[in-house]
Subunit: 289 residues, 2 copies
Amino acid sequence: MQLIDGKRIADEIKAEIKIEVDMMKSRGLRPPHLAAVLVGHDGGSETYVAHKIKACEQTGIKSTLIRYEDDITEAELLRRIDDLNADTDIDGFIVQLPLPKHIDEQKIIEAILPSKDVDGFHPVNVGRMMIGLPCFVSATPAGIMELLSRYRINTRGKHCVVLGRSNIVGKPVSILMSRKAAPGDATVTVCHSRTQNIPEITRQADIIIAALGQPDFVTADMVKEGAVIIDVGTTRVPSTETKSGWKLKGDVKFDEVAPKCSYITPVPGGVGPMTIVSLLRNTLQAAER
Amino acid sequence: MQLIDGKRIADEIKAEIKIEVDMMKSRGLRPPHLAAVLVGHDGGSETYVAHKIKACEQTGIKSTLIRYEDDITEAELLRRIDDLNADTDIDGFIVQLPLPKHIDEQKIIEAILPSKDVDGFHPVNVGRMMIGLPCFVSATPAGIMELLSRYRINTRGKHCVVLGRSNIVGKPVSILMSRKAAPGDATVTVCHSRTQNIPEITRQADIIIAALGQPDFVTADMVKEGAVIIDVGTTRVPSTETKSGWKLKGDVKFDEVAPKCSYITPVPGGVGPMTIVSLLRNTLQAAER
């Protein structure tokens, strides 16, 4: 069993991005510039945005944090997005989700110029990804594909079972895994809450991508000997072991599943660290266009 | 075994559309208006467009055929598309594919205003379909879903195996079949040319959607007793039985597979007739917006 070290790969990619940013600067260009819009004071959102800004600093990407109180109106936020769309100094920007209930998230997402939508949530980017055209792929699916690629895991003709059909992980990763590319070219099965015989299906899988958000869902009896396991779950569960009082738990019962695997991602330290570097890569790409 | 009669269902839907169009007219509104752009003289394209125009006539939808010789430049065609986008008298339009080699098809597709893209090929419509937002779904996947719906075939929790990963059938129908909806909510496996053990996988299927374009690919030994078979294949093969010298062949070896099925679509007369009514429905929907 080999551990897929997302932290190490993420650090590698950050170093590569830093080299590219330094080269841009040495050619007299300004560095890529990411803006992050944060509305309100949700604890999770504060942490995610802080991590994104820190990662920008580590790679030389310029970042700007734009904060609003959670009483900002939808109209005001849309106006601010128009400003960011028009601002030639900003290559890409994100609006951290979730947003307060009085704001229509989909309307906000669709207001972002697709060429600046480094989160890859705009329908144009989703559609282009599906068709196989150049686009911004959203962070988690892109991070998963990058891990498979860096560990040279052969996916061609393999049976990949995706657990979960969310818009941000399950659906896009199923398309990426089945498309004619490397990594890709896998036979892909998507399972979800209505699937009747998940263990029977996962036992046939060469690769399992678990993105249900149900801690310890995948147990040893559900996994074939030698399978590759990508655990996308990041559920916060109470814990007396940490200062914060909680820890992250994956969808896979790691201790019993790991010994059966050829490769497995831990939680934390697997897919998680990759999501931020996917955002940085998209920002770099936006600046290079 | 029950035959899924696409011709009958298509006629039913045409009658329904006609009632809606008549109601629009009786309210003093103009009928929906579809324009079809045909470049060159490809035999298949001529036939398809002629069928679409005839179907418009049957339902009271106004249609306009716009023809160009195959030496039209890409720039000229793009200008004509701008005109159609701006023309308030036209609710939706299609550009019949394939286009001559000197024209970039993707560029043409993306030039069409998404709100007039009744073929559902624009990335915005593809992306919105994937996310589960209101959109124009392209004709063949929409037709398949409609057949399943009209025959009240239960798809929830069933295992649906899709053969083929094309942008116009395999990928979109896999998303539609797995999404939280009825029809839908199926466990979906997508197989393609790189899949190693197709018969083993199809034998597990409650529903098979065959869209490979390989005549007689699905044989009786690949099908579970009681399965539902949707045959999307329409390959022209030489024939001495027809005046034209060819006939349409599906991906399924109908004679030997049909006795094992609960439901099966014939070729021709199954999915084929449904594609045109999907286009008419999209046009009606465009006019109602």
